[in-house]
């Protein structure tokens, strides 16, 4: 398969921790502009896969390419983030002692070295970008509040907002609706679909209702490799998937 038109290309990737193969000969291709949902039982290797893509974990073998030509295994987290891969953690991770606005300000795309940050003053363009994002994630009225005071769901949204501020090409979103109400879950699906219009997105989620809402191609991981891939109906009709989820 050609890498040229892909945003993310994983081929034959394996990684083991203390003899346990967390990822086992995993191959996964994401086209530019595509949104993909990844499902799989606990321990299927979903988060480890994200660790590999974002440079946190080095694979033992296999190829990981971003945007068709960048070998991600040669770069670290900060470099990969600067290339345009944003990541939302499973547990919402925001800067709790900062205001919502400052959280976004630290995430805004721009120079990432110390001295510019030391003498940085917020420009009108940056203020506008922050306003836009606050509108999208609907936290405009809480902009001066500490992130620690947000509800779990609002923290998830703030973290997604921080990803948007980063303006990445590819977003990796780990369990965005964990701990959300049904209404919030629907809102999040709408938000992610909006984002997917001009970004490539990978969403890892357990909530099948939410995955159905997204209406995108689904990849089911099991024991570190792809078990089944296709529409949600196709995947959920796959006997092996049913077996994995319901136990044998």
């Amino acid at each position: 398969m050609s890498k040229s038109n892909t945003i993310l290309y994983l081929d034959g990737v394996s990684v083991s921790f203390d003899g346990f193969r967390a990822i086992n000969n995993l191959s996964l291709v994401l086209d530019k502009g595509e949104m993909r949902a990844i499902i799989g039982p606990n321990g299927a290797g979903k988060t480890t896969m994200m660790d590999i893509v974002t440079g946190k974990t080095r694979p033992d073998e296999g190829e990981v390419f971003f945007d068709g030509q960048v070998d991600l295994t040669r770069h670290d987290e900060a470099e990969i983030a600067m290339m345009g891969i944003g990541r939302k953690f499973q547990k919402p991770t925001v800067f709790e002692s900062h205001t919502i606005e400052d959280n976004l300000m630290l995430a805004l795309k721009g120079p990432r070295s110390i001295f510019p940050a030391l003498f940085h003053r917020r420009s009108a363009a940056e203020a506008r970008q922050i306003d836009d994002i606050l509108g999208i994630i609907r936290l405009g009225d809480k902009r001066h509040e500490q992130a620690a005071n947000l509800s779990h769901g609002q923290k998830q949204w703030l973290e997604i907002g921080m990803l948007l501020a980063q303006d990445p090409k590819l977003l990796l979103v780990d369990e965005p609706v964990a701990g959300m109400t049904d209404a919030e879950t629907e809102e999040t699906a709408r938000l992610l679909k909006d984002i997917a219009r001009d970004h490539s997105v990978i969403v890892v989620e357990h909530d099948m209702h939410f995955v159905r809402e997204l209406g995108v191609k689904v990849t089911c991981l099991h024991e570190g490799s792809v078990l089944s891939e296709g529409t949600l109906d196709f995947v959920s009709a796959d006997e092996r998937v049913v077996e994995v989820y319901l136990g044998r």
């Binding site: 946190k56 987290e77 953690f89 991770t93 400052d102 300000m105 070295s113 030391l118 500490q146 980063q166």
Partner: protein, 411 residues
Amino acid sequence: MITGRFFAAGADRRIAITIFILLAAAIIVPLLNLAVSPTSAFYVPAYIVALTGKYLCYALLALALDLVWGYCGILSLGHGAFFALGGYAMGMYLMRQIGSRGVYGNPILPDFMVFLNYKELPWFWYGFDHFWFAAITVLAVPGLLAFIFGWFAFRSRVTGVYLSIITQAMTYALLLAFFRNDMGFGGNNGLTDFKDILGFNVQADATRSALFAASAVMLALAVFVTWAIVGSKYGKLLMAVRDAESRTRFLGWRAENVKLFAFTVSAVMAGIAGALYVPQVGIINPGEFEPSNSIEVVIWAAVGGRGTIVGPIIGALLVNAGKSWFTGVLPELWLFALGGLFVAVTLLLPKGIIGMWDSWRGNARALRAASVVEEAAAKVGVASATSKPARSPARNPGEWSWSDPEPQAAE
């Protein structure tokens, strides 16, 4: 630009007041010592000037530590090493100023070198006869050591208690090295018997007052610099690294560089503190590298309130004043008192004196607001409907109305 922000925003009255008090002290205390007659009630004796000058140096050291510990979560247990290195650089200058007035009367070699049969001045003593050279060394040596140490430690992602242990090991290693006679720094006697600084007698009242003023001004400057750093975007990043380091990495920031900058700036501040300390106490010896000294600095910052600018200063002044008093009254119990103080502060005042003050003020304000609301309600005659006054969220000791979350581990 930053000064503009300082005067325009008026953001932090507490910082402005602190700087004002320090600058006022820099003028008033020397005046009360030099211009007031010793019989007057306002006379400040020279020993008090020297003692408080010493405390101000400790306060600067505590502030330096707080920049990395309070704002970036790096618990350095080796900041005494940077302090001592700054002190040694100043001590070497003061030794060269003795000239031929030493016991052995050698115009080039300090007494201890004559005593240890040195034939000529070691190369690393060159230049210390100039004040400007010593001043640069005071900044450069602690800064460089911190930079090299931090470069390796932060790049290898050594954090938490492991980092604390290696900072402790660093200061201990330096302690052992400086104890050796053939290091060329005076061995366990260190450097002492100073005569002049910039041509003035270090023992003279006027010189002591000038050193006090220099310490106060330098501390005021450090407060301002720390405030500017902490208030900048970089400062916010510093706290972000403290609270969720991996988040900053995945946003593209290099957390190791963020820490390295703060660590280096902090070491330079500690070095300046040491350099001002040595002429005021008249000696520098390897004892300053003692790991326990560095741990004491942590206690000062914790007592005053870490993660604040004024807190460590208050902590350093109070604990040291307490130490001076206590060691006079019950010398053998001082270490128990210090240990007890640390335990008490950790258990009862996790945010230190400043944190307690803020929460007390916050509560008082909330109660006042509540009583105003109640009065207004009583006038309207609906007092019974609003029987429960609004209260600030923090009502119990150990809870704080301005929530300050513990650092959280990310993925």
